[in-house]
């Protein structure tokens, strides 16, 4: 693989992992808040 191809891979991986990490964080936060405020079981207790 060329250096340019490696660079492109790392850039995609960086922003992809940031976005995915944020999504998982929101999923967990949403589940926890739903449990705390009693709106169903939420993600934390499904």
């Amino acid at each position: 693989m060329s250096v340019d191809a490696w660079t492109a891979l790392w850039v995609v991986l960086l922003w992809g992992s940031s976005g995915a990490f944020l999504l998982v964080t929101f999923y967990i936060l949403g589940g926890a808040l739903m449990r705390i405020f009693g709106k169903g079981n939420g993600a934390g207790n499904d």
């Binding site: 850039v11 940031s18 995915a20 998982v24 964080t25 967990i28 589940g31 993600a43 934390g44 207790n45």
Partner: protein, 501 residues
């Protein structure tokens, strides 16, 4: 002294403690008994399982060692995250080890050794497991303290590293002794969210100061192709990348007790694989995001700012990232990040202290004293174990002087357990012909991984061999011992499994 940052730090710390207490309200132990204390009543849902798995595996140590790798090796350090993603996703897809181990109904992993191979293997395996694990966490406290101290010192808040170490460990011990696994898991959810917000905020803020194009240009100029291509980088290469798929992916997810014990806590068996599949994204992020902070720190200290690191000597690569964070971030954001880092330290520390002490109590002291099912004795021994391991951590943080990067120290010290652990777990679960003799031989031969540690490697003249080579060699020896030992143990193979304990 930067008083504004200090006030923000105080305010965020108080808020953090209040929220932790609020999260515990009404969610403390739902019952009593060993199942409640050791596997949180085995009632975890999917979201909680992912959060606790993620929070345990993203500690301040994780951020520190990946930032160090990014600082030293540039973007090519990202391959460790890719390897972790592949390894963990494979575990999630196929349920390797995690699915069958959940089905066994054990409370700790060595307990499975007894189910499969006999009580003596349980005790021996637990000793190897605890030795590797405790050695592995030996640098957590030292690195966490150095990281936090560098971050705050750069912003004008002077902190003594040793005082910080004692404070951090004292808080961790009190809090971990409090409520067993349920307490660990409740706080993990909160800590994961806080850490996620802190990491993303730091990256967004820093990307405004050092844009991606500029970072790529500086790394290309200073490190050349090795800063991007892990296969041609002298410190990595194909063997290292393969070692990472095993260590950062498969082993971290499916063999390492702090992670695997989460599988034992999940309520529904069908959620075990799902949890690991989704968590593979976290396994990627936990490596890549901090490594990117390290790359940005390298760019920041290249050129005009290089003089700022001169006083740190050989620790410059370790303190570069926190120093940069403390130097460029506004007080309120730095204070928030410091509390998020503290949360990340706690989320790993509590899990590790609890994991190793529960193995000592339940799988070493319990069988040797005949008190495996004595609830009060088990819980008390676990709490004493937490205290003793914390004291060791303080001591080891002061005396160990290895020359390897932190991540390589962690991989090698962990391999003392996992080189035989992976053989016993996978062999026991998937090979009906495995026997007690094979397990003991595998444990003994897998222990040769200890020679991958820097000071020992020098002492026995193995400097010419890389740590991955020693690790793969130890696994090969362990497999050989397991297979030959089992095949030559006709009596063991004839014995029914239930009659072995």
């Amino acid at each position: 002294m930067n008083s504004a940052t200090l006030w923000f730090l105080l305010a965020f710390s108080v808020l953090y403690i209040v929220l932790i207490l609020f999260a515990h309200k009404g969610r403390a132990a739902k019952g009593t008994g060993l199942t409640e204390f050791f596997v949180s009543g085995r009632d975890l849902g999917l979201g909680t399982a992912i959060a606790t798995l993620g929070a345990t595996e993203i500690g301040l140590i994780t951020i520190a060692y990946n930032a160090q790798k990014g600082f030293n090796e540039g973007f090519s350090a990202f391959h460790i995250g890719l390897a972790a993603l592949i390894g963990c996703a494979l575990v999630g897809l196929f349920g390797f080890v995690v699915k069958p181990i959940r089905r066994t109904g054990v409370l700790t992993l060595p307990e499975y050794y007894e189910q499969r191979f006999g009580r003596d293997v349980r005790v021996f395996g637990a000793i190897v497991m605890a030795a590797g694990g405790i050695l592995n966490m030996g640098l957590f406290l030292k690195v966490a303290s150095a990281f936090l101290a560098a971050m705050l010192t750069a912003n004008g808040i002077a902190l003594n590293v040793n005082v910080l170490m004692v404070t951090l460990i004292a808080v961790a011990v009190v809090y971990t002794c409090y409520g067993g696994m349920r307490s660990v898991i409740i706080t993990d959810i909160f800590q994961f969210v806080l850490l996620g917000a802190g990491l993303i905020a730091a990256i967004v803020f820093l990307s405004g100061i050092i844009p991606m194009d500029q970072a790529i240009e500086i790394v290309a100029r200073e490190k050349g192709p090795a800063g991007f291509d892990p296969l041609t980088n002298d410190n990595f290469g194909p063997g290292y990348a393969l070692w990472m798929v095993l260590v950062a992916g498969v082993v971290s997810a499916a063999i390492w007790p702090t992670a695997l014990s989460r599988a034992l806590c999940i309520e529904k068996e069908e959620n075990v694989q799902r949890a690991y599949l989704i968590a593979s994204v976290i396994f990627l992020s936990r490596m890549v995001l901090p490594a990117f902070l390290g790359v940005l720190a390298f760019c920041y200290f290249t050129g005009a700012n290089a003089a700022l690191l001169e006083g740190y000597g050989s620790d410059a690569d370790l303190v570069a990232t926190p120093y940069m964070l403390g130097h460029v971030m506004p007080g309120w954001l730095l204070a928030f990040l410091a509390v998020a880092m503290f949360a990340s330290f706690m989320s790993t520390q509590d899990s590790y202290l609890f994991c190793w002490s529960s193995i000592i109590a339940r799988d070493i002291v319990g069988p040797l004293t005949g008190k495996i099912d004595a609830e009060r004795f088990q819980i008390m021994t676990t709490r004493i174990g937490i205290f003793v391991i914390a004291l060791y951590e303080l001591y080891w943080g002061l005396i160990y002087e290895g020359k390897e990067d932190i991540w390589d120290y962690l991989a090698v010290s962990g391999s003392i357990y996992f080189c035989s652990g992976i053989v016993l777990m996978a062999g026991g679960l998937y090979w009906p012909g495995a026997t007690r003799r094979g397990a003991i031989w595998a444990l003994v031969l897998g222990f040769t991984a200890v020679f991958g540690l820097g000071p020992l490697k020098e002492a026995v003249g193995l400097e010419g061999l890389s740590s991955p080579a020693i690790g793969f060699g130890a696994i090969a020896l362990s497999v050989l011992g397991f297979v030959v030992g089992s095949l030559t143990d006709a009596k063991g193979r004839a014995q029914p499994k239930g009659a072995r304990s």
